[in-house]
């Protein structure tokens, strides 16, 4: 399992210095006041692989703690940063609007 490596964005061959730098950068990008959960994840990831001994322990004994939602997060993550919807797709969505849909959604009639 190499989840801490993924969280810090380093390879399994990364050195202590690489890992520390990645950790510091990740902390800078995700400060605790912005997303405390993510910050905790980053800290835990660093603790798990910060030195050779930790990495060996991680490789031998780390029992994963991952939720199904986390799997969905990785499967349905955005590619890169948040981008506006392509115009064509927005217009296609616009064309899906219908009176029937409105009436069905509301399940009541306007008066």
């Amino acid at each position: 399992m190499n989840l801490p490596y993924q969280i810090l964005g380093v390879t399994e061959q990364a050195t202590d210095t690489d890992i520390k730098n990645a950790y510091l950068q990740a902390v800078k990008d995700h400060p605790p006041d912005r997303d405390s959960q993510r910050f905790r994840q980053i800290q835990q990831a660093f603790e798990a692989i910060k030195d050779e001994d930790s990495r060996l322990r991680h490789a031998l004994f780390d029992f994963p703690d991952i939720t199904f939602d986390a799997l969905l997060d990785s499967a349905f993550a955005r590619d890169g940063s948040l981008q506006p919807m392509p115009a064509d797709d927005f217009l296609k969505l616009l064309n899906t609007l219908s009176i029937e849909q409105t009436l069905a959604t509301l399940n009541k009639t306007p008066s």
């Binding site: 001994d53 994963p64 991952i66 616009l94 609007l97 009176i99 399940n107 009639t109 306007p110 008066s111």
Partner: protein, 830 residues
């Protein structure tokens, strides 16, 4: 006559029909109601019935529309118009139903009845729906709209904006949207269009704007689709579940989802019931390429802890790389399911695999052994740690853990000394180990050795207080030994060495005090006693502390204290003030740290216990101080004084912490001596401490109760304390009191606690024996009360009686239950 009867019959029928019609109407059975009203209207016209009938048609039309039967809705609405009076209701709905049933001709005709003001002001929702039609390409609608209505007027602007948006002309689009008035029927579309132009950084804010589009807006489905597009993970799935298939496909395409993603998405969206663990496991296995192999494997591994049956399926997707990996996986799963036996077995198999490539795998083997040690009982843990040091001798933590085991958990001086020596060989400059070595040497009275370790420690860490303290104690102990053995010429050197350690005033004074004893022993007794008295007066503000220190110092040298006691001020009737008691505590703590053996400390405290007892009574209002005092006494182990203080304090404050100290003193600090009644009281006190959020008391009480458990004294279980688990005890009490409702039993138990707190168990037993002497032989009862369960059952019985609760249990029932069932043999304390 016949005519009269007919008329009466008709009147009766009408009355009954009217009743039926109104009943149907009231019960919203509009079909039946309309039939009945139609019958009623066959008679001379009645405006009231007509209104009812019209409303029945209207309600039925709405119900049909609710079922998406728009054609039927239109017919019914037309029927409504035949009977209804102006102004007609749901005119806008009728238009929408006509449009929904693709009857454009009729819809446009109906639209002709709306003027611009009506459409803008009275029917804004219809206008918004018409705006949707225009946007989605129903251009033939435009000529049918009142030309001066907002929807018709704004359409051209919106069309421009959409065209600009399609062409990627941001400024033109925004400029067009700006021309739309705030209350335009296209306002929600404007919001959504604006969002499409937002910068990436502002999209979070944009999604908040989209969320504000009302649920009644015809643009809401588009807003939902936009929101879904911006979501990720589980939120994305949840948002997509609210969209229709076509919208999901468009969003999937916009997000660049692969066919596999869409397949997974559809599986999740179509799942009506919450996913079970097994479903999730299977999804993780089947879609592991989407989730990421490592993450999916990790997730599936967790599943196997509770569902080992999935192991085969797991191995099909994630085959073990080798036997080591397979065993490692099994060991981890066993660890997770707390199956230590299997875990050890599989870890040993891992070690066997690793041993084929030594020394490359030595570190791994050592780590596995240490990992095992963390989960093993102390004896096995010690063995595992020792084994691990064979493979990786440089792990300081393992050395320290081993020392802690041989010091605290499996006290074994020989093993401790052996491993301390080995550890020091490996880490000669480690401060933790040097402290241990110095302490160990001091315990063996090897003062020189201890001093040498302390000096080494000070070289490494010149401000190490512990090292200074150790060195001071060693110099002092050595000086005392020299005094005792008559090597007077060397004493001064040791005293000076102790004083040079720049410690606090008290210790400097203590060293100076030793000079007095030196004078007494080596030169002149009178002069020496005077020096000691002077020093003690300087060091202590009150005669009690002076006496205490004199007793300790004299005791350490083995000299008689009579002369000193005579020379010091009278102390027996002295009452200590709060600061004086505080200073005495510091003195006691200081000596407690310096002395290996507490005998002298106890003797010194015994000597001053009379003034201490009086002082505590005097200081009873200083709760915090007395708590600290009890803590000092508990640490020093003077249980007589502790009991006295705690009892007084408990009587005054009635708090759990005082009961703790009282019971601790009564059991002489050994939880094994706690009896059933004590534990019962402690459990109650723990509950009270929790209720009062008294964390200190909770911690102390929990520790004491735990110690009692660890001493393998089964704790009798109380019905209201489900943590306890003495099954035998449960059986007896359950048999007797099990039928009492919990809430009632709690009241009885609280009363029982009060009785037990106020009355000594022996006194209580004596009282019962006296009370029932005429009904049962006192000796028989006395024998019975040797069992704490019987006594406790009796306390409960008496408590119920005092509370006037009829439990249905008689005095004889308890006697019978305990005599006939020979429960004594099952009693935990027998």
């Amino acid at each position: 006559m016949k005519k009269i009867i007919q008329k009466m019959s008709t009147g009766l029928t009408d009355a009954s029909l009217q009743q039926t019609a109104l009943a149907h109407y009231a019960a919203r059975r509009y079909k039946e109601a309309s039939d009945a009203f139609k019958d009623l209207l066959k008679q001379p016209n009645n405006a009231e019935y007509k209104r009812y009938l019209a409303d029945c048609y209207l309600q039925r039309a709405k119900a049909m529309a609710g079922k998406a039967l728009f054609k039927e809705a239109c017919v019914l609405w037309e029927n409504y118009t035949a009977h209804g009076e102006a102004p007609l209701q749901a005119r806008d709905s009728y238009v929408l139903w006509l449009l929904a049933s693709k009857n454009s001709r009729k819809a446009y005709a109906a639209l002709k009845d709306f003027d611009a003001r009506q459409l803008d002001e009275d029917y804004p929702d219809l206008a918004a729906c018409l705006s949707v039609l225009l946007v989605t390409g129903a251009s033939e609608l435009l000529p049918q709209l009142p030309p001066d209505s907002a929807v018709a007027k704004h359409w051209h602007t919106v069309r421009d904006a959409l065209e600009a948006y399609r062409n990627g002309e941001r400024e033109r689009c925004n400029a067009a949207l700006k021309n739309l008035p705030f209350r335009s029927p296209f306002r929600d579309l404007r919001t959504l269009l604006k969002l499409q132009w937002l910068d990436v950084g502002a999209l979070e804010h944009g999604s908040a704007m989209a969320s504000k589009i009302p649920a009644t807006s015809p643009y809401r489905p588009l807003a939902d689709a936009c929101l879904a597009y911006w979501q990720t993970g589980a939120d994305f799935i949840a948002a997509m579940a609210g969209l229709d298939l076509n919208q999901r496909r468009i969003i999937g395409q916009a997000r660049g989802l692969s066919a596999k993603h869409l397949n997974l998405l559809e599986t999740l969206v179509k799942q009506k019931t919450p996913l079970t663990d097994k479903m999730r496991f299977e999804l993780a296995l089947n879609h592991r390429d989407l989730f990421g192999t490592d993450a999916a494997q990790a997730y599936c591994l967790q599943y196997l802890v509770d569902h080992p049956g999935g192991h085969k399926e797991y191995l099909k997707c994630f085959p073990a790389k080798n036997s080591f990996e397979d065993n490692r996986l099994q060991a981890l799963l066993a660890n997770q399911s707390k199956n230590s036996y299997d875990a050890v077995f599989f870890w040993h198999r891992c070690i066997d695999s690793l041993q084929t490539d030594r020394p490359a795998n030595d570190k791994k083997i050592a780590l596995i052994l240490r990992h095992m040690a963390e989960r093993q009982p102390y004896r096995e843990a010690a063995d595992s740690l020792i084994d691990s040091l064979e493979y990786d001798p440089n792990d300081k933590q393992s050395h320290l853990k081993l020392l802690r085991i041989y010091e605290d958990h499996l006290p074994n001086l020989a093993n401790y000394e052996h491993w301390l020596e080995r550890s020091l060989e490996r880490f000669p400059t480690d401060t933790d180990l040097l402290v241990r070595a110095a302490q160990s040497a001091a315990r063996r009275k090897s003062f020189k050795k201890a001093a040498a370790y302390a000096k080494t420690l000070l070289k490494i860490d010149p401000v190490n207080t512990l090292a200074k303290q150790l060195l001071f104690s060693n110099h002092m102990a050595h000086a005392r030994r020299l005094l005792k053995t008559g090597k007077f010429h060397l004493v001064e050197k040791e005293i000076q060495a102790a004083q040079q350690l720049s410690l606090d005033k008290n210790q400097l004074g203590q060293a100076d005090l030793l000079r007095g004893f030196y004078l007494w022993q080596a030169e002149d007794k009178k002069q020496g006693v005077q020096h000691i008295v002077d020093k003690l007066t300087k060091l202590n503000a009150d005669p009690v502390a002076m006496q205490f220190q004199a007793q300790i110092e004299a005791g350490l040298l083995g000299v008689p204290t009579t002369a000193l006691t005579r020379a010091l001020p009278a102390f027996k009737d002295y009452l200590l003030s709060a600061p004086e008691l505080e200073r005495l505590m510091t003195l006691i703590d200081g000596y407690d740290r310096q002395l290996d053996d507490r005998t002298l400390l106890m003797k010194a405290l015994d000597k001053i216990k009379a003034p201490l007892k009086k002082s505590v009574e005097w200081l009873l209002d200083h709760e915090a101080l007395l708590q600290k005092w009890c803590e000092t006494l508990a640490t020093a182990g003077h249980f007589e004084l502790l009991k006295h203080s705690a009892k007084l304090a408990n009587r005054k404050w009635w708090k759990p912490v005082w009961l703790y100290y009282q019971r601790l003193a009564e059991c002489q600090g050994d939880a094994r001596n706690l009896n059933f009644m004590d534990l019962f009281g402690l459990q109650q006190a723990l509950q009270n401490a929790r209720n009062a959020n008294d964390k200190t008391a909770v911690m102390l009480l929990t520790r004491l109760i735990e110690q009692a458990r660890m001493a393998q004294h089964p704790l009798p279980s109380m019905a209201f304390d489900s943590d306890e688990s003495d099954q035998n005890n449960d059986d007896v009490l359950e048999d007797l009191f099990g039928q009492i409702p919990d809430r009632v039993f709690e009241r009885i138990a609280i009363r029982a606690r009060h009785i037990l707190e106020k009355t000594d168990p022996n006194q209580f037993a004596a009282r019962i024996i006296r009370q029932y002497a005429d009904r049962i032989d006192p000796q028989r009862l006395e024998r019975l009360f040797a069992s704490e369960d019987a006594l406790f059952a009796m306390v409960l019985f008496i408590s119920a009686g005092e509370l006037k609760i009829d439990t249905g249990i008689r005095f004889e029932d308890i006697i019978e239950r305990f005599e006939n069932d020979s429960p004594q043999s099952r009693f935990p304390f027998n």
